[in-house]
Assembly symmetry: C2
Homo-oligomer: 319 residues x 2
């Protein structure tokens, strides 16, 4: 009787591997470089899966399934990665079936953001109960939705693209072709960019020293400057928190989840981020009832995706 599941998280730089027990206990993580070329990537995934099974003192017979998390766009029905923006030439690769064949174990494919959401739901801040929405605040803003214990993929596989909620009609242009997307107002990259623009435009700020030293402004630097009394840094930080809170209110209006979980580099700021987000959330939220949706910080860090990938295999164990 198989009692473990393998998760594989395919990224542009690394491929991560993990095992997850039937009782949802994650094993040791293995990380390998992502090679160039589709064939090499598939070989690395198969080899890495074998390695992580061994690393966790298991054998192939202990494994009930493999879950693969990959960046979209995906064709879920056929188990195909249509394109991977960070891996040139990785197009229309039947990743699910090739990994399954290589290992002799059934495999399932999931979008990486959905997988991270499912990981936090099963083993992290989602506590494996209630409805949960994950917002990952990094270069962009990613989303994952779990309702009744199930990942919401959307009818065409593009649901939970929460970074592309339009929150400012006619606002900042986004790479997706829309204007005013949430991620243009509260991703770590955008918040840093906005501070940089304002400093370059001549606004007085201690952040100018960072630019003068030829270094990029980071959200960490902004938060530090803010705490040291820098007005511009405080303004930019607060604005990011405001729009993030606005996104959270909109998630409540559609899904009314038990929890919204925040992840990604920006949440390293901890209370410095949460305090203004919760303040704006309360102020923006309707007054018909007090907000019941909790906003919490993710607990799995960058392992959420690989744990969730294994979780998807665990979830579909009887399918």
């Amino acid at each position: 009787m198989p009692k473990h599941y393998v998760g594989i998280d395919l990224g542009g730089t690394y491929i991560k591997f993990i095992t997850l027990s039937q009782s949802l206990k994650p094993g040791k993580v293995l990380q390998l470089d992502t090679p160039r070329g589709a064939d090499a990537v598939i070989d690395q995934m198969v080899a890495g899966a074998r390695q992580v099974i061994e690393l966790n003192k298991l054998t192939r017979r202990d494994i009930g399934g493999v879950g693969v998390g990959a960046p979209g766009p995906l064709d879920f029905k056929r188990g195909v990665v249509i394109e991977m923006p960070n891996l040139p030439g990785f197009r229309n690769v039947a990743i699910r079936d090739r990994v399954a064949r290589g290992l002799g174990i059934r495999a399932v494919l999931e979008n990486d953001a959905n997988a991270a959401g499912f990981g936090e739901y099963l083993c992290g801040a989602g506590k494996h109960k209630g409805d949960m929405v994950l917002l990952t605040l990094g270069t962009g803003v990613g989303g994952g939705i779990v309702i009744d214990g199930k990942v919401i993929r959307g009818a065409h596989g593009v649901g939970a693209e929460l970074g592309h909620l339009i929150i400012v009609p006619g606002g900042e242009p986004c790479g997706c072709g829309q204007r005013g997307c949430l991620e243009r107002y509260c991703s770590a990259t955008f918040i840093a960019q906005r501070a940089g623009k304002l400093v370059k435009s001549g606004r007085r700020s201690t952040l100018k020293k960072v630019l003068d030293a030829g270094e990029p402004i980071t959200t960490k630097a902004i938060n530090q400057a803010r705490k040291a009394g820098d007005k511009l840094a405080a303004e930019v930080w607060d604005q990011g928190a405001y729009y993030l809170a606005l996104g959270c209110v909109n998630i409540c209006r559609v899904l009314d989840p038990d929890r919204i979980v925040l992840a990604g580099g920006l949440v390293n700021a901890g209370r410095d981020l949460m305090a203004p987000v919760l303040r704006h959330f309360k102020a923006l939220h309707w007054k018909l009832a007090t907000p019941k949706t909790e906003i919490a910080i993710a607990t799995l860090g960058s392992d959420a995706g690989v744990i969730g990938a294994a979780g998807v295999a665990w979830y579909s164990r009887n399918v």
Copy 2:
């Protein structure tokens, strides 16, 4: 073996009743006035349910369950209407159990907007397949979400409140206590109000004749003026369509449904509404993929709610 279900749609002015066969064929509708006082309302609901069973040549033994649709806020677990804004004194009424006791048939309670969404899903424009979102454009904007054949209520019973998506940060104040809610930009009432304000502020428009005659401006009058070449009417109409389309894009980003179904008085305009909505939807939608979510007009009219109420009883037949 019961083969039919009764639906009851409780409104501030009327109570509607219907039967729905196991094969999802709606029977004849009965409409009674809503009396004052909780006891009288419950009595009317029980009496009307008996009448509609008879009207459709059925007996109590043919009925597998009763679904009650009521305006929120509701306590789903206890089957209680916490308050009915349009029925003063109707507070904390255990409507589900009192109707069930009165009829000797098990009953389920559903929010009226969710019920309308489920009705369109089962028997209307949702075609009983795929994921569907209903937007009702009336005094306000109501929402109903059906994913995998199931109504999304939210963890605290306030999901699918799509009229209160914030689409303009810091925008028009809404009765709910938020600012910039979708319904303040595209409900029939708001579109008409906006035209009235602009005319009163001195903007030149043929709609002034309506106001001068002491009549209120309606969306029907705006559409007629627009078609006759009135610029202000065209501007207001197009703006309503723009924000409605923006709401549809945001629904796609969260849920990516198969269909968004538009209902309520405003959709009587048919193609006059749909043409600009679809144009704006295409323009606002991201360019990563062509829009696959269909936008369609509801087909059940004001019976969606009562059909959906019966549908909820049908859905939960084995629970």
